[in-house]
Symmetry: C2
């Protein structure tokens, strides 16, 4: 009777390591974070992450081999997107462990993000309910391209830098919910702060678009 199965088990562990390895580099994490916003070309991603195109390409291919992203050709460009919703869950799991365990991150997160969390966030559930009842104005404060690549149905795109001069578009007597890229994106925080300063009843979505998508909630995506 084969009590143990050391050999295949080892092989499985090695494959775990391949996936983890893919996230074992700050630049790749950043690339994944951007890819999670929607399909992106290589040089777009390179620019966003501050890398050379060659370097970004290499990182992206490593991510592809690890099964975290997939690529498709569109004309002369190659577009990368997340391979699966699970990848967002994976990132969130890493985030939870990183937030708790690593001493340094704690300070960073505390001072830059959680301090602003007094702006009570809105849960997916609550937002879905309010959208259904039509009692809330939802704004997507990410840049136009990211909104175009995919957003929550019913959302209005008002990039953060345009917010001050487009306040007129917002009804003053309705609650406003803002969202952006995710838990490490400050856009929604800033938007809420701006809106509150102007007297609006504004709150932010607990996390961002990728998490909404990963949760299986409806989204508007560009047709492939």
């Amino acid at each position: 009777m084969a009590v143990s199965s050391a050999s295949p088990k080892r092989a499985v562990f090695v494959q775990f390591a391949v996936v983890a390895q893919a996230l074992a580099n700050g630049h790749r994490v950043e690339l994944i974070e951007h890819v999670a916003q929607g399909e992106r070309s290589v040089d777009e991603l390179a620019r966003l992450a501050g890398l050379t195109v060659t370097n970004a390409s290499q990182h992206l291919q490593l991510l592809r081999r690890a099964g975290l992203v997939v690529a498709r050709r569109a004309g002369k460009q190659v577009l990368y997107r997340l391979a699966d919703r699970d990848v967002v869950d994976l990132l969130m799991a890493v985030r939870r462990t990183a937030e708790r365990g690593v001493a340094e991150i704690d300070k960073i997160v505390q001072s830059y993000f959680h301090a602003r969390d007094s702006l009570e966030p809105v849960s997916h559930e609550e937002l879905a309910d309010r959208l259904r009842d039509g009692v809330v104005t939802l704004i997507d404060v990410r840049p136009g391209e990211e909104f175009a690549a995919g957003h929550i149905p019913g959302a209005v795109n008002i990039p953060l830098d345009e917010l001050p001069r487009r306040l007129g578009e917002l009804p003053a007597d309705r609650a406003i919910v803002a969202y952006c890229r995710g838990p490490y994106c400050v856009f929604a925080f800033e938007a809420v702060a701006t809106l509150r300063a102007k007297g609006y009843e504004a709150r932010r979505l607990a996390d961002g678009y990728p998490q909404w998508w990963a949760a299986g909630r409806p989204v508007v995506e560009v047709a492939a």
Copy 2:
């Protein structure tokens, strides 16, 4: 207005990478898997993973720095255990992505594990209900030391290799549920197969002890 916060965001990504880096090595994944069964000393872990003590010690310290495990001294020994339940979730998230994405793992998993999955597994929920109603015999087929370090309340420890000659301890007219280390452990599979061959109504828990613990279910642990 600071629209972006590139600098702290980068720092956060780097910390993500530190956590991922910790899992970016097959030996460390294996060590974590063993640690997830309960507290273990360094040389115990070294033996289980087939490493030298020195090497295992280094890996474990890296895991500790990344916040995945914690160590405490007990006499001359240093015992390592998981830092948090979240770590189990993290491993499961990596597992899901690894299973789907990497071509090779698929074959391995298919042939060695999932093929046997026809032995319909029992969910946490279902097991908890049945235990409460007292209509099931629960057996822990891991080695004695692992059982001693922590197990599900009400479970009887019958290590797999002792099962054939201890069948007499099991009531023939009650359903039996077997569990072991987790989704990549074959002990429970083998136990169920053995029991069924002898005419018992046997099933296995969907995953193992670490996942039960991570889900916040009650466990019996050795007092510190």
